[in-house]
Amino acid sequence: MIILKIAFRNIFRQKRRTLLTALTIFGGFTLAAISIGWSEGTYSYTIDMFTRNQMGHIQIHGKGYLDKPTLYNTINNYRQIGETISGLEGLEGWCPRLYSSGLAAVAEKSAGAIIIGIDPALENEATGFDKKVAEGKSFSKDPAHEAILGSGLMDILNADIGDSAVIVSQAADGSIANDIYEIVGIVESGDNLSDRSSFYLHLSDAQELFVLDQRVHEIAIISEELGDVDELVVRIKSAVGESGLSIEPWQEFAKQFYVAMQADKQGAWIMIFIIILIVAVGVLNTVLMTVLERIREYGVLRALGTRPIQIFRLIILETNFIAVGSILVGLVASTIINYLLSIKGISMPDSITYGGVEFTKMYSEVNAISLYIPAITVIVTVSLVSVFPAIKAARTSPSKAMRIH
């Protein structure tokens, strides 16, 4: 207890030095907390751009569809599946999709297109399709031979809203699929690559075109929380059963994207390592200086019968007092900064394109990991760095120390 008291009061002896040490620790902690918050925030934001707005967090397909996406590998009872899962805890929305490819033509121009049949109501609810319609309007509730094209495809086809677009493809029964639609809207999904080929139809129109009555290729599911996707997968699997279906989270159906995101995250750890190194060097320097200055005092304490381990504790406690104080202030500062960055975001100097998606702004995140990882790392670093000076102090020979004047 008395050791604790001495350690605490020692903090206030060289106020400037303590302040400098505290600032180093505070700065290191706050930088680390901000960079983790940023890394986690941009990670979640990028993933959300892909998953929440497009791919979904979870996808259901016929078994083998992802390896070999054919027109014939369909989900035949999608309404029933939808009804079963729509009440599940943590599920925000779901939507069916039908995919095929074909030739799209407007007047003289033609281009290859990916035809995507969507249920407008469900798609709006799940991925906010209507918000991606940049010009014109979204689909009518009932099928009306309307088409909505990606902005890139519109350019390629030199088309305008109101034009007629013809699709030529092959239907599931082997016949030629061929029909004419009115272009009612233009989509800008943020994914430029897919906007160059997307040709959206009302699901019923698409089913009719490809002779796939009541059938779809994919059910996309949106989870309420990105972090709860795995648990939702388990719930869906047990509710729906897996016969003939594959139910996968985004980490699996978009594996390359996931791997790229993970690699991106490593960058933050290198940054933290460098920050910690700076803190370590700074703290070692001041602790060592302090210990050398007080060697006489440790000699007195030893002569009075203080055990070496108690002197050791004295040094470790003193640096940890400073560390804990600095971290507490850092907690407040970094939470405020992370919060501001999470609502205001930072505009990218040059917009970054990632897998076809354009990012003009990135957002940070307020979360526990960005606080406790730096806190633990700083405490451990500061303690480790104090071990050497503490051993030096503990080994003070009282007789030698007393001859220092």
């Binding site: 207890m1 008395i2 001495i6 002569a303 009075l304 019968g305 055990r307 007393m402």
Partner: protein, 233 residues
């Protein structure tokens, strides 16, 4: 003819050679010494004669190169580490020339320090602190910090701290060296009165004539050897 029951320190053939420099220094060259309970003994001698070394070896702060030291028949020259720390804490009070006090602790806390290490209960601690402060003439100074005291007052606190746990032996290395002679003489009077009232054994080194005169036994060191040992009456 030595009466064993009166004996508190027995030092046999103490040799101390400092080897850390290129030329070895013989600080003690065979010191034999018996100190009795209740002695008020002064070790004198010119600077470099080995006074500090002898006190440190007796206190167990330093190891002799050769020879043995017994305190109350316990061989302390061969104890080590934690055993020695605890032994020192419980048996020996040490007063240095200066800077004896822990600057961040108040007078009261400085005096309590050893009792805190020993685990003496709070009530008992307070009582002993009050009593001892009265004896060294520093009543009412409990809450002061070392920087708020004069040199003489600081040394009195150091004595109080060393005394408070009733050690068998008090060692003081030139306790008056940093004080003016009037204050030094006052300090010696306090030590002398504690010696008489509590029959506490004091060994102190000095090269101050005034201080020597207060001793009841005078040992003169010269080049690491005892040159004379006289008991005054």
């Amino acid at each position: 003819m030595i009466d064993k029951s009166r004996e508190i320190i027995r030092a046999e053939n103490l040799v101390k050679t400092y080897e850390d420099d290129s030329v070895p220094v013989n600080a003690l060259r065979g010191v034999d010494l018996v100190i009795n309970r209740g002695d008020f003994l002064s070790i004198v001698g010119p600077s470099g004669s080995g006074k500090t070394t002898l006190l440190n070896v007796i206190a167990g702060l330093d190891e002799p190169s050769e020879g043995r030291v017994y305190l109350n028949d316990k061989l302390i020259s061969e104890m080590s580490g934690r055993e020695l720390s605890d032994f020192r804490r419980d048996n020996i009070g040490f007063i240095f020339q200066s800077h004896n006090l822990i600057p961040v602790l108040s007078v009261e806390e400085n005096i309590e320090y050893i009792m805190l290490l020993q685990g003496v209960p709070k009530k008992e601690r307070h009582k002993r602190v009050e009593d001892i402060l009265k004896e060294v003439g520093l009543e009412g100074f409990t809450k002061r910090f070392p920087t708020q005291l004069s040199g003489g007052q600081q040394q009195r606190v150091a004595i109080a701290r060393a005394m408070v746990s009733q050690p068998a032996l008090m060692l003081a290395d030139e306790p008056t060296a940093s004080l003016d002679s009037a204050t030094g003489s006052e300090l010696l009077d306090i030590m002398r009165s504690l010696n008489e009232k509590r029959n506490m054994t004091f060994i102190f080194s000095t090269h101050d004539k005034l201080v020597m005169d207060k001793a009841r036994r005078l040992i003169v060191l010269k080049d690491g050897k005892i040159a004379s040992d006289e008991v005054k009456e």
